[in-house]
C-alpha cells in the first residue's frame, strides 16, 4: 500500500480524483442551496421556460422574431447576433490590425509614427468608453431629413443606410455563401505545397474556382431578385423617413466600429510581432536569390509571420468574441443581452446563466478548434533542430 502511494502514476491519479471530486462537491452543494432558495421565492427551476413565449421584442435579429416566440428561439437569435457581430468585428479588426501592423514595421518614419500613435491611443482606452464614444458620435449624426448622401450611402442618426440588392433573404444568404466560397476556395486549393503543381497551372485553377463561385453568386442574385424591382435598392428620403436600401442600426454600427478599432490596435501588435519574428537571414537569402521584394514578402515574410502570429491571433479572436457582450451597454440584443433580459422577465437566473456560459464556451471552443486545425496544417515541419 505504501509502495503503491510512492508510485508516481498512482499519485497523479489520486490527486486528479481528489481535485475533480472536490470541485464536483462544491458545484453540487451550490445547486442544492440555490434550488432551495429559489423554491422559497416561488420560482420553479428547470428548463420548461424555454418553451414559453417571451412577451418582449428584440431590436435586432437576422431571423424572424415576434414577442410570441419562445425563449429558445430568442436564445438562438442572440447566438446568431453575437456570431454575426463577432464575425463582422473580427474581420474589420483584422483588416485594421493588418494595415496598422504593417505600417508599424514599414521603413517609412511617418507610417511608423502614425501606427504607433494609433496603437497607443486605442489600446489604452477601455473598450466600454470607446463604445460610448462611437455611440455618441453615431447618434449625433444628422437626422434622416438632412442626411448627406455619398455613392448611395446615407449616414444618419437612425443608422447607416446602404444600397442593397432587391432579393429574398434565402437568395441573399445563398449568395453570401457563394461569395465566401470565392474567397476560401482559392486559398484552400493553394494550401498544397507551392511546387505540387506548376505555379501557372495552380493560378489558373484558383482563378477558375473563384470565378465559378462568383458566377454562382450572380446567378443566385439574378434568380432571387424580387419581381419588378431594380437589382440594387437605393435608400431615399420619402416624407420624413428613409425608404429602401439596408439599414444598419446605430447599435450594431457602434459595436462593429468599436471592436474593429479597439481589436485592430491589439491585432496590429500581433502582426508587428509576427513580422519582427521573421529572421533577417531568410529575407536576405531570398533577396540574394534574386527574388523581388514583393516575392520575398509573399513567399517568405508573410508565411513565416503568419505561423508566428496565428496562435496569438486565435487567443485575441476568442477574446474579441467575448467583447460582443458590450452590446448591453448600447442596447444591442446580442446573446448576453438576451440572457440578461431573460433573467429579468422570467427569473430563471441559474438556467439562463448556464445557457450563456455553455453558448460562449461552444462558440469559443469551436473558434479555437478551427485555429488549431489551421495551426497544425501549416506548422513548421520537423523539430529536431540541430546545428
Amino acid at each position: 500500500m505504501v509502495s503503491l502511494l510512492r508510485n508516481q502514476k498512482v499519485r497523479n491519479a489520486l490527486l486528479q480524483v481528489l481535485y475533480v471530486g472536490s470541485i464536483a462537491a462544491m458545484v453540487l452543494a451550490g445547486i442544492v442551496i440555490a434550488r432551495r432558495n429559489l423554491a422559497d421565492q416561488g420560482i420553479t427551476s428547470g428548463f420548461d421556460f424555454l418553451f414559453k413565449s417571451t412577451g418582449w421584442d428584440v431590436n435586432f435579429s437576422l431571423l424572424p422574431a415576434t414577442a410570441n416566440d419562445p425563449y429558445w428561439w430568442y436564445f438562438l437569435i442572440g447566438i446568431i447576433n453575437t456570431l454575426f457581430l463577432g464575425s463582422v468585428g473580427l474581420i474589420l479588426a483584422t483588416i485594421v490590425g493588418t494595415i496598422v501592423g504593417l505600417a508599424r514595421t514599414s521603413s517609412n518614419d511617418l507610417a511608423r509614427l502614425l501606427g504607433r500613435t494609433y496603437v497607443d491611443i486605442f489600446r489604452n482606452i477601455p473598450l466600454i468608453l470607446q463604445v460610448f464614444f462611437w455611440y455618441a458620435i453615431i447618434t449625433h449624426l444628422p437626422t434622416p431629413r438632412s442626411a448627406h448622401e455619398a455613392w448611395g450611402f446615407l449616414l444618419t442618426s437612425r443608422g447607416l443606410y446602404i444600397p442593397f440588392p432587391n432579393v429574398g433573404s434565402a437568395a441573399f444568404a445563398a449568395a453570401t455563401v457563394a461569395v465566401i466560397a470565392a474567397i476560401v476556395l482559392p486559398a484552400w486549393l493553394g494550401r498544397t505545397s507551392l511546387l505540387a503543381q506548376p505555379i501557372g497551372q495552380r493560378r489558373t485553377i484558383q482563378f477558375a474556382a473563384a470565378a465559378a463561385a462568383l458566377a454562382c453568386a450572380t446567378i443566385i442574385l439574378a434568380l432571387g431578385r424580387l419581381p419588378d424591382t431594380p437589382l440594387l435598392d437605393f435608400p431615399a428620403l420619402q416624407g420624413l423617413n428613409l425608404r429602401g436600401g439596408l439599414r444598419i442600426p446605430p447599435e450594431f454600427a457602434t459595436l462593429a466600429i468599436a471592436i474593429a478599432i479597439y481589436g485592430g490596435s491589439y491585432i496590429a501588435e500581433i502582426v508587428r510581432g509576427g513580422f519582427k519574428s521573421v529572421g533577417t537571414g531568410q529575407v536576405e537569402a531570398a533577396l540574394s536569390l534574386g527574388l523581388s521584394p514583393w516575392r520575398v514578402f509573399t513567399l517568405v515574410r508573410l508565411p513565416l509571420a503568419l505561423r508566428a502570429m496565428l496562435p496569438i491571433l486565435a487567443n485575441q479572436y476568442v477574446w474579441l468574441m467575448k467583447a460582443t457582450t458590450m452590446g448591453i451597454a448600447v442596447g444591442f440584443t446580442d446573446f448576453f443581452m438576451i440572457v440578461a433580459l431573460t433573467i429579468n422577465h422570467s427569473g430563471q437566473t441559474l438556467e439562463a446563466i448556464g445557457i450563456l456560459m455553455a453558448g460562449f464556451l461552444a462558440i469559443n471552443l469551436s473558434l479555437a478548434a478551427v485555429f488549431n486545425r489551421i495551426n497544425k496544417a501549416i506548422a513548421l515541419k520537423g523539430n529536431q533542430l540541430r546545428g
Binding site: 511546387l195 531568410q282 537569402a285 533577396l287 540574394s288 534574386g290 527574388l291 513565416l304 515541419k381 546545428g387
Partner: protein, 252 residues
C-alpha cells in the same frame, strides 16, 4: 561550364569603395579586381569589414562611395542592374538561412522557377542535380530543421547553385558548424572551385585557403592590408598585422 566572356571584363571590379554605418566608417577605399574563375579568400579579425564588403557585392548593403561593377554591370540605384547582378551572384551565409517552411527541394526550386521562369520539371531536375552534387540527394523531401548543420549548409550551397550563378560569395560558411561537419562543406566548396567557379570566400579555414585560393586578402579596420598568393601570405608576409593574425589562426 563557366562561359568566359570575350570582352575581358573582370568578374568583379571594386574601386575606392567606402561604406558608412551612420558616422562609423566600415570600409575605407577598398580596391579589388577578380578575374573569372579566380578564387579569393578573405580573412581578418572580427569587425574588420569582411562581411560588409561581400554583402556590398550583391547589394545586401548599399555602398556610399566608389564603384562596384559585377560582370560588367555597374551596381547603382538602378533596380534592373541590382536584379541582374543578384541573378548571377549566389551567396552562402554563416547561418544557412534556409526557408524553414519549404522542403529542401522547394528551397532549391523556388528561385529558378520564379526568377528564371523555369518550368517545374526543369527546376526539379536542376535541383536534384545539385543536391546530388552536394551529396544529399536523399534529403530532398525533408524540411531544413530535420537536417544537421552540415547538411543544411550543403543545401544552402545547392540552392544558390540552382540559379546557375557565375560568382559565388561565401560568408564564413563553416564557422557555425560543429567541427566534424566542417569538412563535408569544405569538400563541396573545393569541388566547386575545381570546376572553375569564381569564388569569394570569407573564411578562417586556412587549409582551404592553401588548397584553392589564388589570392588571400587580409582585412583590418575596413581596409585591405595585404593581398598575396597563399604560399606567400602564410610564410613571408611583409605586414606585421598579417603575420600576427596568421600565427593566431594557425595556432602558433
Amino acid at each position: 561550364m563557366i562561359s568566359t566572356n570575350s570582352t575581358g571584363e573582370p568578374a568583379l571590379r571594386i574601386e575606392n569603395l567606402d561604406k558608412y554605418y551612420g558616422t562609423f566608417q566600415a570600409l575605407r577605399g577598398i580596391n579589388l579586381s577578380v578575374q573569372r574563375g579566380e578564387k579569393i579568400v578573405v580573412c581578418g579579425p572580427s569587425g574588420s569589414g569582411k562581411s560588409t564588403m561581400i554583402r556590398c557585392i550583391n547589394r545586401l548593403e548599399q555602398h556610399n562611395g566608389g564603384r562596384i561593377a559585377v560582370l560588367g554591370t555597374e551596381l547603382n540605384d538602378d533596380v534592373g542592374n541590382i536584379d541582374e547582378i543578384r541573378r548571377e551572384v549566389g551567396m552562402v551565409f554563416q547561418h544557412f538561412n534556409l526557408f524553414p517552411h519549404m522542403t529542401v527541394l522547394e528551397n532549391c526550386m523556388i528561385s529558378p522557377m520564379i526568377v528564371r521562369k523555369q518550368p517545374r520539371a526543369q527546376a526539379e531536375a536542376t535541383a536534384r542535380h545539385y543536391l546530388e552534387k552536394v551529396r544529399i540527394p536523399e534529403q530532398a523531401m525533408k524540411y531544413p530543421s530535420q537536417l544537421s548543420g552540415g547538411q543544411q549548409q550543403r543545401v544552402a550551397i545547392a540552392r544558390a547553385l540552382c540559379m546557375q550563378p557565375q560568382i559565388m560569395l561565401f560568408d564564413e560558411p563553416t564557422s557555425a558548424l560543429d567541427p566534424e561537419m566542417v569538412s563535408e562543406v569544405l569538400d563541396v566548396m573545393v569541388t566547386l572551385a575545381s570546376e572553375g567557379m569564381t569564388m569569394i570566400c570569407v573564411t578562417h579555414e586556412m587549409g582551404f585557403a592553401r588548397r584553392v585560393a589564388d589570392r588571400v586578402l587580409f582585412m583590418d579596420g575596413g581596409e585591405i592590408l595585404e593581398e598575396a598568393p597563399p604560399d606567400e601570405f602564410f610564410t613571408s608576409s611583409r605586414n606585421e598585422r598579417t603575420r600576427q593574425f596568421v600565427s593566431q589562426v594557425l595556432g602558433h
